[in-house]
């Protein structure tokens, strides 16, 4: 069991190398089969995490060996409930992405599936890493395969979109590297030139160690370190105003690229906040709280409005991601268990719902080679099954009760409304406007594409979903309904980690007595460190 995380992380890489060296590039069938098999095996192995999860323990399946002893770098893997859910989503969406590519990718297939699998290794490794150096390595490794996936198999402006994605993310992550260095110095020996005394602990990049010592960092320094993390993660999320790479990347990427991008890569940013920025830097978090909350709300509403006016379906879904990720950020920075739980759950939900929407848009694009809403109309008559699946995905994305999106958004709003950190329900109110707008752009999209007369003759010959596409969508729909109706197993996974994070970011939170959610926010003065300062 010690090696389970290594196995899950490196199965895709080994599979990629096998394809690279042992499968002839003209044999597309074998390549697809191999890639799918690797992804399915990886998913099945990752289920071990689900079934062997111990809700009473925080860090599980740990694996630790020295890697670069002279720098204090360990090869340290370990996961908590949050990471397990994200890993499961990664391996699951990996299958969806690979299978959905059968009909979409017709050239350079060998490289394509190899890169998808390598990307998989990078993503899983990022979620597993409990050493900051290791985390950074995996974080950067993800960039290159995604660059190629957009750049080789993308649309008309693929070169521009690929390099934009690459440079934006890289610029953010190198600043994050400096923040990691600052944490390292603080834990190790301090920086004499800046008059920052250190703790003289053994040099380490251990995330768990930083969790312990982070709050001892002087608030000024915490602010700067947090800023470095903020650039690294907020660009990835992406938060308004760092979101401009996202529509380009999504629109140009092939369907599978969009699915992975939306479902997993964006979660890297939110995961980074919840795993590193919040627990390590409580003071930094507080200082950046209001700006981040405001940017989240702007993102929610701006993303929704921009979605409303899109003519391109894929771009619409891309901008809706900006809006949805705003919810995730808003819930997270409520700094109470409710908000963070909703935020984590919404990461999963967004992956499933938006992944499904990208998949559906990709299906119809393969048939008609256009994504313009104006080219469609009334195709529900021609493709009833497709219309039904699209409806479920759209409803899930807009947060209809009994589907997954509702649980996440509702929990987030509840958390944000009751947040003593925010101290006002204004953010929740504005965010709720975003939900209404979400219903508007999705239903309007649905109406224009599926209802009305079937007046474009090119649409008269559209074929409904085939078995493979149906299978993929059914898998996603089952998840949507399951999470929507019975989310408790997922909440069980994130209960303890969220508790841990809240304790780190707000040590006084649970001392205030039993956790209640008063209708009116408590006076901020009663509340921990704000008062302490």
């Amino acid at each position: 069991m010690d090696h389970i995380l290594n196995i899950i992380t490196y199965i895709p890489l080994v599979g990629a190398l096998l394809i690279l060296f042992f499968v002839n590039k003209s044999n597309a069938h074998a390549i697809r089969f191999m890639a799918t098999a690797v992804a399915v095996i990886d998913f099945l192995v990752s289920l071990v995490l689900w079934f062997n999860f111990d809700p009473n323990k925080l860090w599980q399946f740990e694996f630790k060996v020295p890697w670069i002893p002279s720098l204090g770098v360990d090869y340290h893997f370990g996961v908590d409930g949050i990471a397990i859910l994200l890993i499961l989503m990664t391996t699951f969406m990996g299958i969806i992405a690979i299978v959905s590519s059968y009909s979409a990718i017709h050239h350079r297939e060998k490289e394509y599936y190899t890169l998808l699998l390598m990307l998989q290794t990078g993503m899983i490794g990022t979620f597993c890493a409990l050493d900051f150096f290791l985390f950074y390595v995996f974080w950067e490794i993800m960039l290159v395969p995604m660059y190629f996936i957009i750049g080789i198999w993308g649309g008309a402006r693929k070169l521009y979109a690929a390099i934009k994605f690459f440079l934006y993310t890289l610029a953010g992550s190198v600043l994050m590297l400096l923040s990691i260095l600052a944490l390292f110095f603080f834990n190790d020996g301090g920086i004499p030139f800046l008059n920052i005394a250190g703790l003289n602990n053994p040099a380490t990049f251990s995330v768990l160690q930083f969790h312990e010592v982070g709050r001892l960092i002087p608030p000024d320094l915490q602010f700067w370190i947090f800023l470095g993390f903020f650039f690294g993660f907020a660009i990835k999320v992406p938060m308004f105003p760092f979101h401009t790479w996202l529509p380009d990347a999504h629109v140009e990427a092939p369907t599978a690229g969009s699915i992975i991008l939306a479902a997993v890569l964006l979660k890297m940013g939110t995961y980074g906040f919840v795993r590193f920025a919040l627990p390590i830097l409580p003071d930094g978090t507080r200082q950046m709280l209001i700006p981040i909350a405001v940017l989240s709300v702007i993102g929610i509403i701006y993303g929704a409005f921009v979605s409303l006016v899109q003519k391109d379906m894929k771009k619409l879904v891309a901008y809706s991601s900006v809006s949805h990720l705003g919810f995730v950020m808003l819930g997270m920075f409520a700094l109470n268990p409710m908000g963070i739980k909703g935020s984590v759950l919404q990461m999963i939900n967004h992956g499933i719902s938006t992944g499904a929407l990208f998949l559906l848009v990709g299906m119809i694009y393969e048939r008609r080679h256009t994504r313009m809403i104006a080219d469609y109309g009334g195709i529900a008559k021609q493709m009833p099954m497709y219309a039904a699946l699209f409806l479920i995905a759209a409803l899930s994305s807009m947060g209809l009760p009994a589907l997954n999106g509702f649980i996440g958004e509702f929990t987030i709003l509840l958390g944000a409304a009751n947040s003593t950190a925010y101290g006002t329900i204004a953010y929740a109110v504005f965010a709720a406007v975003g939900i209404v707008l979400g219903a508007a752009y999705l239903l309007w999209l649905y109406q224009r594409v599926f209802w009305g007369p079937l007046d474009n003759p090119a649409n008269a010959t559209l074929k409904d979903v085939n078995g493979r596409e149906l299978g993929l969508m059914v898998a996603l729909v089952v998840l949507m309904i399951w999470i929507g109706v019975y989310p408790k197993p997922l909440f069980d996974f994130i209960e303890k980690p969220v508790d841990y994070i809240v304790r780190k970011v707000d040590p006084g939170y649970f001392e205030k007595g039993p956790v209640t959610y008063p209708a009116t926010p408590a006076a901020p003065a009663a509340h921990s460190e704000v008062a302490a300062k």
Partner: protein, 491 residues
């Protein structure tokens, strides 16, 4: 001085005798056109490497053993760089292979000049006396000037040599002037002597002027802004293997003396020169990387990128800390191998019907030569500092040193500029993988394949398992580092 010390000069003696023999061979009528010259040179290098190893075992104190009136030291630091130089020159020789096949230029004098340059570089690595360092530097530089113009019938090559020589001579003069001022104030040219004298002095203008002159001369050698203008023209005009030589071995040698002089000799006034070097480093990174974006010629692009890399290394020098020095050593290795790999790829393209110099010539390389294209990506990622390549480890040390020394702003510029650098490195990646090119097979030779394979292995291996490299750098740099800083911050 005792005559028995001469034994420690064995590597230098061997390479000098060898260089003379290579020079004399064609004069005595022995003018074989085959690969005899190459093999002679390689054997010579192998003997040099062997004698360096032998010396490292013979010397009684590996930390620092001085000889010849404290002009010359055999220590772990110099052995590290000497081995790096020998390996690099060996790679350059392999790159130059078949460059002369069927050409009107003789390989013998060429290899002889390379050997003389190597001799100069080895003296630079070992010199602990400004005069000795200067003589070594001149030997290397004069050989380089001639090598840059080795294609004497081609205008570009001659022009490159001329520019390089005129500017190089001026910079040497400036360097020498700086040395003389330092001598005037301290009364000694020995680095440890200078350090001792300086610790008794307060800042004075003559000394500062001398230090600045010294820094300017050295900055010319490592091509830092504003002393960089020669670089693109020389890199473009020189024969490609010589460009490889100038951008790897020659630069590493300059890094070595820069580090030794500033760490051992004049660290006492670091608070005065640190900021100057910091500004130069920042300018080098900004100008180098932004100018590289606009280049369509690969040789010029890499020239500007090497200006940026000089800026990164300067961070290690101005930090005056252990991590800074180890960073310089690690980065020299990492940078040298990634750069050699890139030049090997460029040379492969030049062998074909391509000129190999334009970014467009790389179009569609993945189809014609998947392994070369893959190796090229690894080299470019390494230069850009993306894990899991060795370049990341090297840059990590330098960023670390800059932050540790209190130059957080410089570190911010450095990381942002390394993101900028990915823009032009990825222009090549884009050309290779995302664009379609002509269908022509690549005529790679075994020597080029060998160079690329070694560079690839080094770059990937030290990226994934950097510990051996770091430990070697640590062992090699310890004396110099602790010398300067028992040091700066007491850590």
């Amino acid at each position: 001085m005792t005559w028995s010390d001469v034994i420690y000069l064995l590597p230098e003696v061997i390479i000098t005798i060898g260089a003379c023999l290579l020079l004399l061979a064609p004069v005595s009528g022995f003018r074989s056109t085959g690969s005899t010259a190459k093999w002679t040179m390689l054997v010579l290098l192998a003997m040099t490497a062997g004698s360096i190893f032998a010396c490292s075992y013979l010397v009684e104190n590996i930390d620092q053993t001085r000889m010849f009136a404290s002009m010359f030291a055999l220590d772990a630091f110099s052995i590290f760089f000497k081995l790096l130089f020998v390996v690099t020159i060996g790679m350059v020789v392999l790159l130059s292979d078949d460059f002369f096949r069927g050409s009107r230029y003789s390989p013998w004098e060429y290899y002889s000049l390379l050997a003389f340059a190597l001799c100069g570089m080895m003296f630079m690595a070992s010199g602990i006396h400004l005069a000795a360092i200067y003589v070594g530097l001149e030997l290397m530089s004069l050989s380089s000037y001639i090598l840059a113009g080795y294609y004497k019938n081609e205008q570009k090559s001659t022009e490159a040599a001329m520019k390089y020589f005129v500017l190089g001579a001026v910079s040497s003069a400036i360097l020498l002037y700086g040395i003389s001022l330092i001598y005037g104030v301290t009364g000694t040219l020995n680095l440890t002597g200078i350090a001792r004298q300086m610790s008794t002095l307060v800042t004075n203008d003559a000394l500062m002027f001398g230090i600045m002159m010294l820094a300017a001369g050295l900055c010319f050698k490592i091509a830092a802004v504003p002393f960089h203008v020669w670089t693109p023209d020389v890199y473009e005009g020189a024969p490609t293997p010589i460009t490889a030589f100038l951008s790897t071995a020659s630069k590493a040698a300059a890094f070595a003396i820069f580090a030794r002089i500033f760490y051992v000799g004049i660290h006492h006034f670091r608070l005065d020169w640190q900021y100057v070097l910091a500004v130069i480093a920042a300018l080098s990174m900004i100008v180098g990387n932004f100018a590289a974006i606009t280049q369509d010629n690969v040789k010029r692009m890499l020239a500007y990128s090497s200006i940026g890399h000089a800026g990164y290394v300067l961070m290690g020098i101005l930090a005056v800390s252990e991590m800074g020095l180890y960073g310089i050593l690690v980065y020299s290795v990492v940078y040298v191998f990634a750069t050699l790999g890139i030049w090997a790829t460029v040379l492969v393209l030049e062998r074909g019907e391509y000129a190999g110099e334009q970014v467009n010539d790389f179009n569609g390389l993945y189809k014609r030569a998947p392994y070369w294209a893959f190796a090229m990506i690894v080299f470019l990622l390494s230069l850009g500092g993306i894990p899991p390549t060795a370049g990341f480890i090297g840059k990590y040390f330098l960023f670390y040193a800059a932050v540790e020394a209190g130059f957080g702003w410089l570190a911010i510029i450095a990381v942002l500029m390394s993101a900028v650098s990915m823009f032009f490195y990825f222009r090549l990646v884009m050309a290779m993988y995302l664009k379609e090119g002509r269908e022509a097979t690549l005529p790679a030779t075994n020597s080029l394949r060998f160079v690329a394979a070694v560079a690839l292995i080094v770059t990937l291996l030290f990226g994934v398992l950097p510990s051996p490299l770091i430990d070697t750098a640590r062992d090699s740099g310890r004396w110099v580092a602790t010398r300067s800083a028992a040091l700066v911050n007491g850590r």
